[in-house]
Amino acid sequence: MTEMDLNAAALPPRSRGVIGLLEENCTVCMLCARECPDWCIYIESHKQTLHVPEGGRPRVRNVLDRFAIDFSLCMYCGICIEACPYDALFWSPEFGYPEADITALTHERDRLREWMWTVPPPPGHDAGAPPPREAQAAHPGTSPAGQPG
């Protein structure tokens, strides 16, 4: 073989290549920025008051102004993805994004959104894995191994 074909989609499941942001899920809780051990997530936001026309209580929500991940610092530990309570961050197996300028390794919101389209569907459960907690909660009385009683 004289060619080394590169295809990120053929890598093992849950491969850690780059992090994508689904902005619609983000509530700017700041948990990812606080938990990141490298301090490489930069978040700026402001509060927006929504007035309800029928005279209800005005709601205040956070609006994301800036969400950037500095991939020159990132150590791909995944703590941000695990800490996010709203599933706004995802792993993608894409790996070919070198830069000549180190500041270009800080990916802003638009580029993090582009990575979302490379996020593979979640892999199926491994053989022999215990059923997810949601299934156990839905069927109480079954043991973690899936056997009743």
Partner: protein
């Protein structure tokens, strides 16, 4: 647990041996095409060195004309190129954490590198200090002491990411910073 046989990543399904590569495929040999050839020197300081070794070993197998070039350096494609290039470009790949104690040696390695020379920073530690950015004895990035031309992110980056970085080095015309 049985050993997992990981296939070599392929584009669009398995390709039979001998079939031409699909358009747009990245090849290690293409780095040497167009008169641009490389001589890669790996400053393997820490864990990233393992990935660079894996990539360079593959390069030696895949480059046309056989493995090691003159002098025995892996990844060498001998001879001057048609594009008017004087000879192979010497690339110093800094792979791993640059500690304060080791920084003078990395600087000496760069100074001893003959022209034309480029520097490729491989991995988070040599890009910016990485996970050890707050340490008391880590240089926060190889670019604190030597000029870096290409940064490859990752912790560690895949061996294929080194090939992507060397491609970027070729595509930017090899302009030195």
């Amino acid at each position: 647990m049985a050993a997992v046989d990981l296939p070599v990543p392929r584009r669009g399904g398995t390709a039979a041996a001998g079939t031409p590569a699909p358009a747009g495929a990245i090849s290690a040999g293409a780095i040497s095409a167009g008169g641009f050839s490389l001589r890669v020197f790996d400053a393997g300081l820490a864990c990233c060195a393992v990935e660079v070794s894996a990539a360079l070993r593959r390069c030696a197998e895949l480059l046309p004309g056989g493995g090691a070039g003159p002098g025995g350096e892996p990844g060498t494609h001998g001879g001057a190129g048609a594009g008017g290039q004087a000879g192979p470009v010497n690339v110093l790949v800094v792979a791993g954490t640059v500690t304060d104690k080791l920084a003078p040696l990395v600087l000496a390695a760069y100074r001893d590198l003959p022209e034309p020379r480029r520097v490729l920073s491989f991995g988070a530690c040599s890009n910016s200090g990485g996970p050890y950015w707050d340490s008391y004895c880590v240089t926060k990035g190889a670019d604190q002491i030597i000029p870096v031309d290409v940064y490859v992110p990752g912790c560690p980056p895949r061996p294929e990411a080194l090939i992507c970085g060397l491609q970027l080095l070729r595509d930017t015309g090899g302009e030195q910073r």
